[in-house]
């Protein structure tokens, strides 16, 4: 998805001299063609995330469309006060694109894992949040939002998949990928891969899933969530984020007025102090298709 970020940036910069990429000493090699072709539109500010955000805010107030880029914990968590004050408080537009969410840097331990970024952005209610899992999905989002004069957060993944369906053309709307009356499965990000497998495994057990995928976590497509949940009365949310602060909480809020709907939120429950591969860490957090199917069966029995 990083390559798509570079390609989309080149495509946008070709027609818009106001797009500026501000990087924290990351992607320097990847962006070399961009730099050569658009030397006034790429700035490697250095490893100083708080200052990157401040500079971007000054550029935004001067009429540019800054995109700030670095590794998730550093460009979101480390400099969050700058995002809050320099962008949200001042009501300035800008795009923050992070790489290395959740367990993309699985072997590097806690400092390089990130599953709290969504939760942090949710403390800024009008900030937009996207967690695409498909490179074309990302391209559409980025090319739409980069100059929308709002604070937007897009989290890249190293584990992109090809979504075998056509998503809704409106990036803020969720898409129903399969229809079923037994359980609603709402998913964001690369966990869609598990979700698609879960739908097939469940069919074999005669369980029919209403699978809905969301590119945008904020604003959230409440209409689709409510329609599906009212039909099945049983909801599972699935994500690679901290459930208490991220997509699971968003869905719970959307459905909070419905007393007869049961919601199970799957994702990361607490701090993860381990290494290994992306798959190892997902297994540790019970984010495998087989475990998810077990959850579904439990919910149906319960």
């Amino acid at each position: 998805m990083r390559n798509q970020f570079i390609e989309s940036s080149i495509k946008i910069a070709t027609k818009d001299p106001k797009l500026l990429i501000l990087a924290g000493d990351i992607g320097v090699f990847g962006f070399r063609h961009f730099r050569e072709n658009f030397p006034y539109q790429y700035y490697n500010i250095g490893i100083c995330e708080q200052t990157i955000i401040g500079i971007a805010a000054g550029l935004s107030s001067s009429g540019f469309h800054p995109t700030m880029h670095s590794i998730t914990p550093f460009i979101v968590e480390r400099c969050f006060e700058q995002i809050k004050d320099d962008f949200y408080y001042q009501q300035l537009g800008g795009t923050i694109i992070s790489v290395g969410g959740t367990f993309d840097y699985s072997m590097l331990g806690c400092t390089h894992h990130s599953y709290s970024d969504i939760g942090l952005f949710r403390t800024l209610p009008k900030a937009e949040i996207f967690t695409p899992c498909d490179v074309n999905e990302f391209a559409k989002i980025y090319e739409t939002v980069y100059n929308n004069e709002r604070l937007t957060y897009i989290r890249l993944t190293e584990h992109s998949i090809e979504i075998p369906y056509k998503l809704k053309s409106n990036i803020y709307k969720g898409t129903k990928l399969s229809s079923g009356g037994d359980i609603s499965l709402f998913v964001v990000g690369p966990q869609l891969k598990n979700a698609l497998s879960v739908v097939e495994l469940s069919k074999k057990k005669n369980i029919n899933i209403d699978l809905c995928y969301f590119s945008s976590l904020n604003p959230i497509d409440s209409k689709l969530i409510r329609e599906s949940a009212r039909k099945t009365k049983r909801v599972i949310t699935l994500e690679e984020n901290l459930v208490d602060t991220s997509f699971g909480s968003i869905v719970s809020s959307v459905l909070d007025e419905f007393y007869d709907i049961t919601i199970h939120r799957l994702g990361i429950k607490d701090f993860v102090r381990d290494y290994g591969s992306y798959t190892d860490l997902l297994e540790l957090n019970e984010l495998t298709d087989k475990k998810i199917v077990k959850e579904i069966e439990a919910l149906l029995l319960g």
């Binding site: 500026l20 100083c48 708080q50 500079i55 000054g58 001067s62 800054p66 700058q82 004050d85 320099d86």
Partner: protein, 243 residues
């Protein structure tokens, strides 16, 4: 203003009155237009001295609000200046070390667009403790932001914590600048003028040595007054001394 509100940072505001007066009178006011991309820009990074900023803006007719609405509900004049509420405020500051990076962004925008004009940013010596100040000092050099003028209001509010020779340190980073008495308006003007005309190819700085609470004998260098609002009697004494 502050007495009426029951809120304010008087000594931090008093230390920068001359600096603000000179910058606005000599460098901002001439043909002032907030929409002119070639304008000189001023950012008060030490945003808690908002009372001084509002007083100067009002004095020069850039602000039409009633100063006695300072810090009141529904006022445009908050305890820290708000970019969205006051048209001539170029950045919402208040949290230290935010104004300086924002100033860098505005300076970079001017360079990319080929616009003229300098970006003046005023930080406090206490504020210089913060990390992004040093990040900005380095980035300004790396990006050749030669249209930046950094002014440090050195009222030694941090003399209890840290004290460094900022002039030598900044020069060692490649900035060009000097240290002066921050309460001498003629000297302030001459120093800025000389820096702007003689040093075209580096970011510039001025260490302005000032007195916190300048002009009121019982406030000067007295930490008890940092965030204190005078009583009625104290207010009388202050106004007597200042006039």
């Amino acid at each position: 203003m502050i007495n009426n509100a029951g809120e304010g940072h008087i000594p931090s505001s008093l230390s920068i009155v001359e600096i603000l007066y000179v910058i606005y009178k000599k460098f901002i006011l001439n043909k002032y237009n907030i929409n002119d991309p070639n304008r000189n820009v001023f950012i008060l990074s030490k945003g808690h001295a908002s009372a001084a900023l509002y007083a100067i803006l009002f004095h020069f007719n850039l602000l039409k609000e009633d100063l006695l609405t300072y810090c009141k509900s529904n006022s445009k004049l908050g305890g820290h200046p708000d970019y969205n509420k006051i048209s001539c405020v170029e950045a919402s500051t208040g949290s230290l070390a935010h104004g300086f990076p924002i100033a860098l962004g505005i300076a970079l925008a001017k360079i990319i667009n080929g616009n003229s004009g300098n970006v003046f940013v005023l930080v406090g010596d206490g504020e210089v403790n913060e990390g992004p100040i040093w990040e900005s000092i380095m980035v300004a050099i790396n990006l050749s932001l030669n249209n930046i003028v950094l002014i440090i209001d050195n009222n030694r509010s941090q003399s209890y914590a840290t004290q460094f020779d900022y002039k030598n340190i900044l020069q060692s980073f490649g900035w060009v600048g000097t240290e002066i008495d921050g309460h001498n308006p003629d000297l302030i003007f001459q120093t800025i003028h000389d820096l702007l005309t003689k040093s075209n190819n580096t970011p510039k700085f001025i260490i302005a040595n000032t007195v916190k609470g300048k002009g009121v004998s019982f406030m000067e260098n007295n930490p008890a007054w940092h965030h204190r609002v005078p009583t009625k009697e104290e207010y009388k004494l202050i106004m007597e001394e200042l006039s």
